[in-house]
């Protein structure tokens, strides 16, 4: 993580770049950068095993905010090349498998075109 912060100075366009979301993240962006994986892993157990809904660290909600919209108005999958979740992970060489199961665009976006 220190590397990520230091790199922009040294390596300009080699650092991950991704579309910005609007609104405010569920935690401080710096906190998210460091700890989003543990937030998500706690949340998945709380939601699935205990049945807690509407919680702060919902993966569904990350996707709702962080999926960018293309020129055609359609949501772009968050794990597509250069997109929010993918760009950093490619850079950091981590490959979470979440999106083999989880939807990569917000609810409704898969079926209805522009929303």
């Amino acid at each position: 993580m220190l590397l990520l912060a230091a790199l922009p100075v040294m390596a300009g366009d080699l650092t991950p770049s991704f579309p910005k979301a609007s609104g405010t993240c569920v935690e401080e962006p710096g906190e998210m950068r460091k700890h989003h994986h543990s937030f998500l892993k706690h949340q998945r157990d709380d939601t699935l095993r205990l049945g807690i809904r509407g919680a702060k660290h919902s993966l569904k909600d990350c996707v709702s905010c962080h999926a960018a919209k293309g020129a055609d108005g359609k949501a772009i999958p968050v794990n597509a090349e250069g997109q929010f979740c993918q760009s950093c992970h490619a850079y950091a060489a981590v490959a979470p498998d979440c999106f083999t199961c989880h939807a990569t665009v917000p609810d409704g976006a898969a079926k209805t075109a522009a929303r």
Partner: protein, 244 residues
């Protein structure tokens, strides 16, 4: 948690009184039931279940099955033997009399689920409110649960998946089954199959809380004859049938 539970019970009771006061029936009041508050876990005082009147169920009707496939975004690969299916129509026949009828069968959300007993990782699990689920985050795809299930209720995803519904993440190598539409139930709704059966089918399915003696399902179960499939196994399913 105790404090919150009792607070919600009070709220529930209060809602019941206000709704009943103007002379509304409980049936009309049922859909207005609010979901569980955000941040609250599933509650052991609930026992979600279904009552299915098979005398109303039409053998030609597949409204529940179709609604489930749409709700859970289950595609067909044209291989009926292995395509994911959370609910199916079964035709039963009395060999002596020839009497035939049709009924929907899904995960029976057993109180003593054999799938949970055999699961080596803890992925097969029962929520506090009795809903039996696969925690696909830790499912290794061994399929012991599929063999243990007396109701043949579970499926296995054999192929890579795309186009999943956000409320039903599913992928290759994991077991899956009816969730009693936990995502809807948690939001105060009822399962998609029940809704479709009421809208375009024969209104043969009733969803409700068997843990609440005042619910319509509990009152009917208390005064009408109902059966459970293979009740002899002692797994105590939450799905009850009439007419079989």
């Amino acid at each position: 948690m105790t404090a919150d539970t009792s607070r919600r019970d009070v709220l529930k009771a209060a809602a019941g009184v206000t709704l009943l006061a103007p002379g509304l029936t409980l049936i009309a009041a049922a859909p207005a039931e609010a979901g569980r508050a955000p941040g609250m876990p599933a509650n052991a005082s609930n026992r979600w279940g279904l009552l299915i009147d098979t005398t109303k169920c039409d053998s030609g009707c597949s409204a529940c099955v179709d609604a489930c496939k749409t709700e859970m975004a289950l595609p067909s690969h044209g291989r009926p033997l292995t395509d994911a299916q959370y609910i199916r129509k079964v035709t039963v026949k009395d060999p002596k009399s020839g009497y035939t009828h049709s009924l929907p069968v899904m995960c029976q959300h057993c109180a003593k689920p054999p799938c949970v007993d055999v699961c080596p990782t803890g992925a097969s699990m029962k929520r506090a409110d009795g809903i039996v689920l696969v925690d696909r985050h830790i499912c290794i795809g061994c399929r012991y649960c599929m063999m243990a299930c007396p109701y043949k209720a579970r499926s296995f995803a054999h192929e890579d998946q795309t186009g999943q519904a956000p409320h039903n993440p599913r992928g290759k190598g994991c077991v899956e089954a009816c969730t009693l539409c936990a995502h809807r139930v948690d939001a105060g709704g009822r399962p998609a199959c029940v809704e479709a059966c009421a809208a375009t089918g024969k209104a043969a399915m009733l969803f409700g809380d068997l843990g609440d003696p005042g619910s319509e399902i509990s009152r009917r179960v208390a005064k009408e004859a109902t059966t459970r499939i293979r009740a002899d196994l002692g797994v105590d399913p939450a799905i009850r049938y009439q007419g079989i």
